[in-house]
Amino acid sequence: MCGIFGSNNFSKYTSLYEINKQRGTFAFGCLAVREDDQDMYIVKRPGNIDLEHLPSHVENNYDVYLGHTQAPTSNAREYDVQTSHPFEYKEWLVAHNGIINNYEKIVKQHVPKHKNPVDSSVLPVLFDKYQKSGMAAYESIMETMNQLKGLAAIWAYNKLENKLFLCRMGSTLHYDGENTFSSLKLPGTELMDDNTLYEFNFKNSKITEIDKLSTQSEFFIIE
């Protein structure tokens, strides 16, 4: 369990990273996406990173900057790029904050050849499986998330449709009503609806609701 965050603004992104470090200092993952040519910049590093040391072309050259701060899981105590966020599989890049309690069952049932000790790793694999079966990207996420037992806040980028999605299922995820989101609450942000899939729209840089999951959270939350 960790922290996820993102913004269309690099300066805001830097602040978000500083705040979300407290959710996990074991590793950091970053994905920046430019919509028109689908250029991506991906970084995975153990521990913390100084964002000022990123290549100069990264700042302000992408439409969205996404981050993940990772705490060590019980199944991955040593840093390994294969067990760190974002997890990439074919057309998908995914970062997850939470826990998938039925991970083993899901793997056995749907993708028995999948081998990775970290539960989050199965998400892009399942998204891909459903997308290949003919589902739209958002339907693939819905189909997957509705089968999960546990907690999740994710960002998921699909290269095929060039779309970015956010989903909250139990884990905290706050947003400013426009284009910035974070696991930790920041001034001016509110909790996003639980059990809900959102899209980060590149065109207008806004986060909008797409659909409701059929799952139910274990927690009743009043802000």
Partner: protein
């Protein structure tokens, strides 16, 4: 003679287990233990005293309050640390509400007690939500590991059972209703004020369990809960 040991905090889960075991298992003797570990409040223990009446062969409150002196990082044992609110900590790897290694300590004491009584089973109150709330010592992996550890015992094989470990709060509340649990005599809130806070993780999951069963939790909460909005009715 078949005997078991049940640690009972006075919270919802352990109370449901006590009633479930009393009603649906065939133990000749149930022995209950509560722990005074210097926790933030004693409301739970008072509830435990009410709950065990007529259901157990023996009930003891064990004083191990050195825990609160040694384990100062938890909001439950250190009153100087605020209890974390659900909305702030969901997905947190280990919140300040976690008491270091508490379940291992409790279960070790219960297992030793079971050995001395000739009991073969200890019940453990962990539920599905415990893993989700970040409690590693409430997980299935923990249960498997501690049973493996106990199996090293060459003579007295004590099994730790956790009948709620795969149940959602909705299912636990339903089981409690079916077993006739008096929910007015349970206390779940971490804070221990006059009324339950309704916003700590313990309250949040309890409330969700009642709401999803469309039942009104008979406890009083300091926040306003519009039970009508969720079509909830009193437990009869």
């Amino acid at each position: 003679m078949k005997k078991c040991v049940i640690p009972i905090s006075g919270g919802l889960d352990s109370t449901v287990i006590l009633n479930h075991v009393h009603k649906n298992y065939d133990f000749d003797e149930i022995h209950a233990l509560s722990f005074d570990y210097g926790q933030r409040h004693k409301k739970e223990i008072n509830c435990a005293v009410d709950q065990v009446f007529g259901k157990v062969k023996s009930f003891k409150t064990v004083k191990i309050d050195f825990i609160s002196q040694l384990f100062s990082t938890s909001s439950i044992t250190n009153p100087d640390i605020d209890v974390a609110e659900t909305k702030d900590v969901l997905g947190d790897p280990q919140t300040v509400n976690y008491v270091p290694n508490r379940n291992t300590i409790f279960l070790s004491i219960c297992t030793g007690y079971a050995e001395s009584l000739g009991a073969d089973t200890v019940f453990h109150g962990s539920a599905l939500v415990d893993s989700e709330a970040g409690y590693w010592d409430g997980s299935k992996e923990f249960l498997t590991s501690i049973n493996k550890h106990n199996s090293l015992n060459r003579r007295d094989k004590i099994k730790i059972e956790a009948p709620l470990i795969e149940l959602s709060k909705k299912e636990i509340v339903k089981l409690g209703i079916d077993c006739g649990v008096d929910f007015t005599k349970t206390w779940t809130c971490y804070k221990g004020q006059d009324k339950a806070c309704g916003t700590c993780p313990a309250c949040s999951s309890r409330l969700q369990g009642f709401i999803l069963n469309k039942k009104i939790d008979p406890l009083e909460y300091s926040i306003n809960i519009d039970w009508n909005k969720f079509d909830c009715e009193p437990i009869i």
